[in-house]
Assembly symmetry: C2
Homo-oligomer: 346 residues x 2
């Protein structure tokens, strides 16, 4: 119920996904009558969808702390509950990100060994696969060295299971690539991640810079949620400004308008390549269960892309594999951290 | 001597500037024989240029700490010395940013009341003037609330003198626009900047997000040097990726190649609009003297743009006006900070 376009966009999106993939089943959460009416309009959807009545709605403006106390009975709560009790493998939501993370924390709980869960997104890049994984992009504005190590482990596991990379390259975001650069926690994380890369089966490429986010240096970009959030919003804003200016340029003269007609297929291909709807879905990592956060403004194409990602993660048994990775890393980190920074609880 | 392209690009750049603007005089710093040879090739330049022999060179790889101890006799040192002794109004350099900031700190010294100098850049945006000022983009990776207030004052002064805005709109970069968001020092800076905006003659628009950097919400974006550095590099990288993909799209088919010929004037206009060379010049703020840092890879067009900016700042008496602003703010801040966070030395 939570997206800007309401449940109609969600139902249109799962209809699209259902048409493409016969192996997905859906559990829809929300006011039963509303959902039944929307589903009834899509004939092929009927047998593939179960509806769970949940009359409450979390709005985009609700504060996470309020939703944590009063969220029971909302569609968001109900969707997470279906993952918690094993009915669903993955939850997909277009709703309020802060509330979704807060509810996910209290209902699904963190994986043993994870201090701060993270939100990972895919970002258009020069990589062979066309995208980088970047995390955290806003689950928590803080991250210490051990958190950053966990993000590296979780991001690598996501790249293996969500993008099919055998041995992802992991980079740590900083203001320069030299070893002496950056904040103390970054230099400490540099040592921790470097020490774990062999055991955890990824290549650690060291410090990377903002220009490497759309680049081909790494497959996983690790950073704290403050920096990651500013970076993706700056990149999105820059891309959208260029798109606007490009449309203006093509409208400028009769010749340029003719040019835009001739180039339309090529331009559509470019648009598709960097269309944020195609990679719609921030994934919450570090919980007992996988949650895919679709963009609030997602239309049918966006919802369908988020469902596709959720399906792929479900198929690869991602949640379980991630839990094993983090658990084994936590044991190892304990030794390293105990020596370097004093005892830790994980 | 410090740019990637060496002194030839610098001399070509000032030649370009000299042709456009009869009121600029140049003092060139570097090995005399080399510079004389380059200047002699440009006949119109002879009478406009003085040469100061400085045989030493700061390379792009030199560590700032090394240059601080052994930098005397380099062209960089000599250029800053000419600002220090009043011969030059502004210094322009294409060299090593870290070394230039370190030398500027010890030779020009900070303005009274400034704890951390900042580097400000212009960023393509939807503003009527086409650009935002953003600072700090990398002078210092840390910034406390008082530093952020000083960046706001200095950025507003730069927008007034470098961009001709009477009453710039200042925004503080955060992960959301709500008052409760972000790190404690950001919430504290929010209060400080808000309290000063009337006296300091700017409009404070509150918290802004990454998407506002290329937007039309503010004219001055205030942030710490870590976040600012990641943001500009992410934006530059995203723009460059889109440019590459656009060129690919236009090469794809005979039709799209024809289209690119028809649209060439419009595309060149777009390119010019977002060309980083046109706004080439990070300005060091908070020192007794203005230093413009041109991009290391700048060609003649880039150097000429940096000289144009330097000239404009010199003409408006920017250094002196900035010093007055910061001095009067320091007095006021003292009262606010003493109450909020204990006594400060400035």
């Amino acid at each position: 119920m939570g997206g800007d376009a309401g449940p109609a966009a969600v139902v249109a999106g799962i209809h699209k996904s259902a048409g493409k993939n016969p192996d997905i089943g859906f559990i829809l959460h929300g006011p039963e009558a509303d959902l039944q009416r929307l589903v009834a309009r899509r004939k092929t959807l009927g047998v593939r969808v179960e509806i769970r009545d949940a009359p409450g709605i979390v709005s985009m403006e609700d504060k996470p702390s309020h939703v944590m106390r009063h969220g029971e009975g909302t569609s968001m709560w109900s969707a997470l509950e279906s993952v918690r009790n094993g009915e669903a493998t993955v939850a997909v939501s277009c709703g309020n990100t802060g509330a979704l993370m807060a509810l996910s924390m209290i209902r699904l709980r963190r994986l043993p060994g994870v201090n701060r869960p993270a939100i990972a997104v895919l970002w258009p890049s020069r990589n062979p696969q066309g995208f980088n994984v970047m995390l955290d992009v806003g689950a928590d504005i803080r991250a210490d060295a051990t958190d950053l190590l966990q993000y590296a482990m979780m991001g690598a596991s996501y790249a293996r299971n969500g993008m099919g990379l055998q041995r992802p390259r992991v980079g740590l975001l900083n203001v320069g690539t030299e070893q002496h650069k950056g904040r103390p926690e970054l230099r400490e994380a540099h040592e921790l991640i470097s020490a774990q890369s062999e055991t955890a089966n990824f290549d650690y490429v060291g410090f990377v810079e903002g220009s490497d986010i759309p680049g081909d240096t790494a497959d996983v970009i690790v950073t704290d949620g403050f920096t990651g959030n500013v970076a993706i919003k700056t990149g999105e804003g820059t891309a959208s400004l260029i798109g606007e200016l490009l449309r203006e340029a093509f409208r400028y003269s009769p010749l340029s308008r003719l040019a835009s007609v001739l180039a339309i297929t090529s331009l559509q291909r470019l648009r598709k390549r960097i269309d944020p709807r195609r990679v719609n879905g921030g994934v919450f990592l570090g919980l007992n269960g996988t949650v895919v956060k679709s963009h609030g403004g997602a239309d049918a194409t966006g919802v369908s892309a988020a469902v596709k990602l959720a399906f792929q993660l479900a198929q690869t048994g991602f949640t379980k594999k991630l839990a094993q990775r983090v658990a084994s890393a936590a044991t190892l980190t304990q030794d390293v951290s105990a020596k370097d920074t004093g005892p830790k609880n994980d």
